[in-house]
């Protein structure tokens, strides 16, 4: 038995060491090296390659945002910080760097109303889990209530509470998904972007959007996006000049 434990520990240690050495050779590590040596363009290429291969993580997008920031592309820096926060809403480094990038770019933010701000205490995924648990607890409670000879008041209260929690969680998911920071959130990545009243370059301007500004895509028509803009405005912008946060 003792020999078996020693063998297992040895195998585990070897695996850990090998994985450490293996990570040093990964594209991510190489991109980090490029970043550390000031080759931000090459670092961006390395991170973007990983992103294109769908190896998504908050760390990857955070580092990519840093590389864009160093390269002076504040719009894409903000976009990638937002992506990191979309994957991991409690990412402190991404949150801090996002603020700095916004200040540098003078980016405009979409206003978040009070209900949406309150609902952001939990993420949509957390609301989903809460809704699932509450639903099943409620259903089990109802089944037990139906089959029991004597109906407990506590069980009735628990069932009702569970179903109320389920309804609230579903409403929160819908609200957050359709809110200004929901699935339609996009970031202006180009410079000199102006939202217009119609789908024409010579149409009147609604709002000048610095890179990194937030917009909420309402609909798409050809090469144009109709979007909710900061300050409760709406307008058309070129589809090439903005990217969705959620891939």
């Amino acid at each position: 038995m003792k020999q078996l434990i020693i063998t297992l520990c040895a195998v585990g240690g070897l695996f850990a060491v090998s994985s450490t050495f293996a990570q040093a050779d990964t594209p991510f590590a190489k991109a980090n090296e490029e970043y550390a040596t000031g080759h931000f363009k090459e670092a961006i290429d390395g991170y973007e390659t990983l992103a294109r291969s769908r190896q998504w993580s908050a760390t990857l997008f955070y580092d990519l945002g840093n590389a864009y920031f160093r390269a002076g592309d504040f719009g894409r820096a903000i976009l990638n910080y937002e992506r990191a926060l979309a994957l991991e809403p409690r990412h402190p480094e991404a949150d801090a760097n996002l603020r700095i990038a916004r200040d540098e770019a003078r980016a405009l933010e979409l206003a978040v109303n009070a209900p949406e701000r309150s609902l952001q205490l939990m993420t949509p995924n957390q609301y989903t889990i809460a809704a699932a648990i509450a639903l099943w607890v409620g259903i089990f409670g109802i089944v037990i209530l139906i089959s029991a000879r004597r109906r407990s008041a506590g069980l009735i209260a628990l069932s009702i509470l569970s179903l109320l929690i389920f309804a609230f969680a579903v409403a929160a998911i819908v609200w957050l998904d359709n809110g200004n920071k929901g699935s339609a959130l996009a970031i202006v990545t180009d410079k000199g972007v102006e939202a217009r009243v119609a789908t024409a370059e010579n149409a009147n301007t609604v709002l000048a959007l610095p890179p990194g500004s937030e917009i909420k895509i309402v609909s798409k028509r050809g090469d144009w996006i109709y979007a909710v803009l900061p300050n409760n405005l709406r307008g058309w912008i070129s589809a090439k000049s903005a990217e969705s946060v959620r891939l």
């Binding site: 160093r70 994957l87 998904d177 709002l207």
Partner: protein, 617 residues
């Protein structure tokens, strides 16, 4: 007899009605005559219509109407019949055209007509004829060149409301293309105003109407535009010349007998009903040139004391401003909407300036113009400027807009009221402030502030998580719904178990109920006195077994003396009594009815019944 009288009455009635209607025409309105001129004020060469209306039967036209200086010719006759209250009236209208040959005041004398056997007289009519350009044309009608005056076919009027204007001032211009309605135009070239040194907007057609100009009726097509001068000086808008193709006969009056019979439709010495004209229906195409008169505009310079924010707007304007939202955090955008409305050169109206933009970050404004007229010199131009406060502010700073008022001949500066707002949060860092403030004259405290190092981003992370993440919401992933199978299966299992349990409970209840019923039945039989000893002891032992089975929830057939005694906690005496009961029952069952049949007395039965009833768990 009765039928004869009735037939005679009907005949009289029909005859009376026939007589009434036949006399209706006879007794219609009495004969009358009226005479009217379509216009009592005309110019030489212009025609007037004269109508003589005679009401009554057997009307006869007046004779030739002759007035010196007027050429009066009959053009047609109209007959009218009217029925009113069973009365039929008949009238005849004799139409004439009157062509004045010279200026002056003419009187068409009363004409005698015959109607209804009576002699009637028309009233005397007066006609004032003024001299005009047409008279010269008429007077020189013998010359072919002047017989068809292009100016009478079509001409252009260029209406410039003012002779003096300022540099940059938008002057409205109205252009009237006057076409003779009796001439058909095949093609008219594009109208265009070419004036050197003046910026002229595109001509916009604003309407079409019939107007009387110099005594003649024209189809007037009105165009509008506006012009502005970029420099001072005296500008002449040259006479416009537009080529057109008009259809009219090229037969000259000189070929006709000037004193011969003339058609009343002969205008400009052209008679569309002339045989030669009917040859090509409405005439032959002629290239003509439609001209206007030149117009002069003197452009004055603007005064030299222009305000700093003057962008060249000349006119008369008003300004309103508002800001939204009113409550923001530091750094949040506020849209300031300024609307400049009025009349003037809107192309030179720029966004109003912010008088004090310290502590604000200003983004480029957007603008839209909504014009109220056809040429864009009246309307409202709206500017939206996004401002972002870098520190706590109480109001949005006033906006200022300057223009030159050509009526007052001075510069006017409009200032908006400061819009109260509420800005919360801490001031932005100095680094962003320095980028945000674009005030050319920074405040002393702002200039004294040391330039701090721009904020730097945090470090790079080097540890990638083992598993990659997805942007797909949890509820949209298949694994989430697969996971829901676990509680679903548990729910189904629980439900199935509960249903099975309910069924089992149901069977047990039925068994207990049957035993209780059996126990009751046995006790009832034991109380009867006519049962045989064999049945009595058998039922008594069975009753004990059933009561024990009910108490212990077991099968009554497996109950023996010991189980029953233990169940009911019997003492030795009761145990012996119970043992005897079961022994007697077995004896009775297996040894036959004759053995000991008479050994049970009513006293024994009573005691045994009491004993069984006393058994309680």
């Amino acid at each position: 007899m009765f039928d004869v009288r009735r037939t005679a009455l009907c005949t009289i009635l029909v005859a009376a009605l026939t007589g009434f209607f036949s006399s209706g025409a006879v007794f219609a309105d009495s004969p009358s005559v009226t005479a009217v001129l379509s216009n009592s004020e005309v110019a030489v060469g212009e025609t007037v219509r004269l109508q003589i209306r005679i009401t009554g039967s057997d009307a006869k036209p007046p004779g030739q109407i002759t007035v010196d200086g007027l050429d009066i010719r009959q053009t047609g006759t109209e007959q009218h019949y009217e029925m009113n209250n069973f009365s039929i009236s008949q009238s005849v209208i004799y139409n004439y055209t009157v062509l004045p040959m010279k200026a002056g005041k003419f009187k068409i004398p009363p004409q005698t007509v015959q109607a209804g056997g009576a002699s009637l007289r028309t009233p005397e009519l007066a006609l004032n004829v003024s001299g005009s350009a047409g008279s010269s044309a008429r007077g020189n009608s013998s010359t072919a060149q002047q017989s068809i005056d292009p100016r009478k076919i079509a001409f252009i009027e260029l209406v410039v409301p003012k002779a003096q204007a300022y540099v940059g001032e938008a002057v409205p211009v109205v252009l009237k293309l006057c076409l003779n309605p009796r001439v058909r135009f095949q093609a008219i070239d594009q109208l265009d105003i070419n004036a050197q040194g003046l910026t002229v907007q595109k001509l916009t057609k604003s309407g079409e109407s019939m107007e009387a100009i110099n005594g003649a009726t024209y189809n007037v097509i009105t165009f509008k535009t506006a012009m502005a001068a970029a420099r001072t000086g005296k500008f002449e808008i040259p006479a416009m010349e537009v080529k057109a193709v008009a259809l009219f006969p090229d037969r000259q009056p000189s070929t006709r007998n000037p004193r011969g019979p003339r058609s009343p439709f002969d205008i400009f010495n052209m008679d569309p009903f002339d045989d030669s004209l009917f040859g090509d229906l409405i005439g032959k195409p002629h290239d003509i040139t439609i001209r206007s008169e030149p117009v002069t505009l003197e452009v004055k310079p603007l005064p030299s004391n222009a305000p700093a924010n003057f962008s060249g707007a000349v006119g008369n304007f008003t300004m309103t401003a508002e800001a939204n939202p009113k409550s923001v955090q530091v750094g949040d955008p506020i849209t300031v909407t300024a609307t400049i409305s009025g009349r003037g050169s809107f192309d030179r109206v720029n966004a109003p300036s912010i008088e004090d933009d310290r502590g604000w970050h200003k983004y480029p404004p957007s603008s839209k113009f909504k014009q109220d007229d056809d040429v864009g010199i009246s309307g409202a131009k709206t500017f939206e400027t996004v401002l972002s406060p870098n520190e706590k502010k109480q109001t949005v700073p006033p906006l200022a807009f300057s223009y030159f008022d050509p009526v007052k001949e001075q510069y006017v500066t409009l200032r908006s009221e400061p819009v109260p707002i509420q800005v919360e949060g801490n001031a932005l860092p100095a680094a962003t402030l320095s980028a945000a403030t674009a005030n050319p004259q920074p405040a002393p405290e702002a200039s004294a502030r040391p330039a701090s190092k721009p904020q730097d981003i945090l470090y790079q992370l080097t540890e990638l998580p083992v598993r990659s993440r997805s942007f797909t919401p949890l509820y949209a992933r298949s694994v989430f719904w697969m996971a829901q199978l676990i509680p679903l299966l548990a729910l189904l299992g629980t439900a199935g178990w509960k249903i099975r349990q309910a069924r089992i409970d149901n069977r047990e209840a039925q068994r207990i109920a049957a035993l209780q019923q059996e126990a009751t039945e046995l006790m009832r039989k034991l109380r009867r006195k006519d049962t045989s000893p064999q049945e009595y002891f058998s039922q008594a032992s069975r009753a004990v077994q059933v009561k024990t089975a009910l108490a212990r929830n077991v099968d009554p057939n497996v109950v023996d003396v010991e189980v029953a005694a233990k169940t009911f906690g019997l003492d030795e005496g009761e145990r012996a009594q119970l043992r005897r009961l079961f022994a007697r029952s077995d004896e009775m069952r297996y040894s036959g009815a004759q053995n000991g049949a008479g050994t049970t007395t009513p006293q024994d039965r009573h005691e045994l019944l009491e004993f069984i009833e006393s058994l309680r768990a």
